[in-house]
Symmetry: C4
Subunit: 227 residues, 4 copies
Amino acid sequence: MTSRTDSQAAAPNRTTDRLEAFSDAVLAIAITLPVVELHAPRSDDGDLAAGYLRLAPDYAAYGISVILIGLYWAHSHFTGKLLRKTDHGYNLLSVGFLAAVSITPFPARPLLEHLVSDAESKTAAIVYLGVAAAPATWWFLRWIYATARSLTDPRLTDAYLNRITIKYGITAASYWAAFAVAFWDWGVGLIAAGIVTLTYLVPPARPAFKTDVQSTTALEMADKKRD
Amino acid sequence: MTSRTDSQAAAPNRTTDRLEAFSDAVLAIAITLPVVELHAPRSDDGDLAAGYLRLAPDYAAYGISVILIGLYWAHSHFTGKLLRKTDHGYNLLSVGFLAAVSITPFPARPLLEHLVSDAESKTAAIVYLGVAAAPATWWFLRWIYATARSLTDPRLTDAYLNRITIKYGITAASYWAAFAVAFWDWGVGLIAAGIVTLTYLVPPARPAFKTDVQSTTALEMADKKRD
Amino acid sequence: MTSRTDSQAAAPNRTTDRLEAFSDAVLAIAITLPVVELHAPRSDDGDLAAGYLRLAPDYAAYGISVILIGLYWAHSHFTGKLLRKTDHGYNLLSVGFLAAVSITPFPARPLLEHLVSDAESKTAAIVYLGVAAAPATWWFLRWIYATARSLTDPRLTDAYLNRITIKYGITAASYWAAFAVAFWDWGVGLIAAGIVTLTYLVPPARPAFKTDVQSTTALEMADKKRD
Amino acid sequence: MTSRTDSQAAAPNRTTDRLEAFSDAVLAIAITLPVVELHAPRSDDGDLAAGYLRLAPDYAAYGISVILIGLYWAHSHFTGKLLRKTDHGYNLLSVGFLAAVSITPFPARPLLEHLVSDAESKTAAIVYLGVAAAPATWWFLRWIYATARSLTDPRLTDAYLNRITIKYGITAASYWAAFAVAFWDWGVGLIAAGIVTLTYLVPPARPAFKTDVQSTTALEMADKKRD
C-alpha cells in the first residue's frame, strides 16, 4: 500500500481525471463552435424563407461536424476507461488530437457547397478528407504511445489491447486511403471515409480482463480510480 | 460485491459523471455563445443610444435563448439524478440532443425582428418552432431509450418512470403541435410553445422509490454514485 | 444515517457540484469570449503598429471584462463553500446571474472609446453601468433565496450569514446608485462603480461556525461534501 | 482530525479542484477559439485551392497557438499536483495568467503574415513576443506567491521548490530578453523565444519529497486530496 501510493505521488503522472475533463471541454467547444458560423438572415436580406434555404450547406456542415466530433467524444469516453494513468507525453499527444479534431468543421461547408459535382468538388473533398484523417492519426499514435508506455489498465488482456490497436490502425489507414482515392475519384473517397466513420456508431467491444489478477484488491483499486 | 464491480468494470458502461460534465460544458457554451452575435455599436456608427436601441431584437433573442437552454440545463441536472449509468447509445442520443439545443439560438433573432406582424412573421415563427421542437424530441427519445435499456435507477417506481415518460412525450408532442398550428396562425403557435416551455419553471416532481429495495446497501450504492 | 440519505435521495436537490461545474464553465467561456472580438490588423490594413494602437479601447475592454468576471468567479468559488445543497430555484437564479455576467463585456468597448469626454460618453457610461448592475442584483437575489430556503451550511452562524447578506445587498445597491449618478455625472458614476468592484479584490471574510453543532458527525458530513 | 477539518472548513481556502476545473475550461476555450478565426473560402471567392492556400498564415497561427497553450495546459496539469490548496490571491493571479494566455493567439496571424522579412516584420515580432512574455510572467508570479504563502505540498523538499522557482524565473526572463532582442534583431528574438517554449516539451522533473514526513498519514491525506 505504502509503496503504491509513494510511487504514485512521486511520479509526474496522474490519474486521467484532469485529462478527461480538459478533453471533454475541448470537444464540447469544438462541437458547439460551428454554430457561430451560422448567421441567420438579416431582415434587410430580402425573402426570409429563401435566406434560410440558402444556408442549407451550412446546416449540413454543422450536422457532419457534430457526427464526427460526437463519435470521437463517445469513444474517448470509452478509451478513458482503459487507461490507468496519463503522463506528459500522452497529454501532449492528446493536445495534438484535440487540435486536429477541433479544426475538422473548418473545411466542411465548402465540401457541402460543392457536393453536387462541379469544378471544385475534387479540391473540396481532398481538403476535407486530409483534415479528417489527421485526428484519426493522432488518436492512433496516442494509443500506440499509451500501450508502449504501459498507461493502460494492467488487467486488460494483451489480445484485447492488440484488437484495439488493430482497429485504430485500420481506421487511420482507411482515412488516408480515402484521401488518396479522392485524387482519383472524390465521390468514392468520401463514401469510404463516411463508412469508416459510421462504423463507430457500433458500441466498442467489451474489455477482456486477465483472470489471474482479478483479485479483490485489483478491483478495488480500479473502483477507486473510477470514483 | 465482487460480481457487481466485475460487471461494472467489464461492461462498456460508465457512471454518468463524464456524460454530465460533457453535457454541462456544451450547455454552458450554447448558453454563452449567443453573446458573440452581439456587436456593440462602433464609434463611427453615429448616435450611440440609437445604435444600442437598434439591437433590441438581439437582446430579446439572447434572452429567450438563455431561458430555453437554461431550463434544459436545470432539468438535465435533475434527470442525471435518475440514471444509474450510461452507455454508448445514450451518449450518442445525448450528442444529438446537445447539437439540437445548441442551434436553438440561431433562428431567434429573425423571430424577434418579425414579431410585430409583417410578411415574414409566419416564416420566422415556423422556422423557430421547428428548431425548438428538435431538442424536446431528442430529449424524449433519449429518455425512452434510457428506460428501455434500464439505465435508470432501479429503485425508482414504475409509476414514477411512466409519469416522466408521459411528461416528456407530451412536451415533445406539444412543440410539434405548436409548429403545425403556426402554419395556420403563427401567433397561437408561439404562445402555445411559450406556455409549454414555461411549465418547466416548476420544479420537477420528487422521485418516488420502491420501498422494498430501500435497504441500506442500495442506498449506499446510490450514495457512492453521487459522490 | 438512513434517514439522511433517504431524504437526500428523495428530494429533487443535489449537492452543488454540478452547479459549480456549470457555473465555472459559463464564467470560463464568458471571460475568454471577448478575445473573439479582437481582430488583429490584416496585412492590407496599412501600418501594422498604427493598426495595433487603434485597437487600444478593445484591449482595455478585454481588461475590464476580465477583472469583473474574474472577481465574480473568485467569489463564486468562495460562496460555493457556504452552500450545503442547491435546488431548482437556485439553479434558475444561477442561470440568470450567469446570463447577466456573460453580457457585461458587450458594452465595454463603447465605454472605453468614449472615455475621453465627448457627446456619447454619458450614454456609453449609463449603458455600461446598467449592464454591470444586473449580475450584482441576480447575485444578491440568489443569496437571499439561498438563505430563505436554508440551502446554506447549517453550521454557519446567523451573524455571519447576515453580514454576507448586507455585503451583497450594499454592492447591488451601490451599482444601481452609480448607474443613477451617471445620469447626472457619468465620471462620478464610473468611479463609484469601479471602487465597489475593486473592494472584491479583498479576500472574503472567514466563515464563522456555531460551536454547538461542530460535532464530529457534522464535520464529517461537510468533509464528505467537499471531497 | 477534528482540528484539521476545522481549520480547513474555517479558512476561506479550498482544495485546488475548482481552480483546476476553471483553469482547464479557460485553457480548453483559449486553445479552441482560434478556429473561429478560420473562415473557409466561400463558393463565390473563386478558385477553392487558391482560397485554401491563401489562409496558410492562419493555419500556422492556429498551430503555434495550440503549441503554446497546449504546453501551458500540460504543465498546469503538473503544477496543480504540487499544490495543497489555493486561496483568493492565488485564484486572482490565476485569472491574470489565464487572461494573458487566452490573448496569445491574437497577434499570431500578423506574425506569420510578416515572417518573410518585410517592413512590418519587426513590429509583428515585437508585439507577439511582448504578448507571449505576459503569461510566463503571471505564471512565475503565481508560483512565487504560492511558495510565499505555503500553498505548496508541505512534503516537497525546499531544494525541489527552489529548482522550480529558478526554472520559472529563467523562463519569464528569457521571454522578456527575447522581446528586448527583437528591437535589435527580430529573427533572433523569435528563435530564442521558440527555443524557450520548446524546452517545455520535456516532461517536468519528478517531485522530491522530504523523507521524514512521509508517514502513512501524510500519504493518505495526499491520496484523499487527489481523489
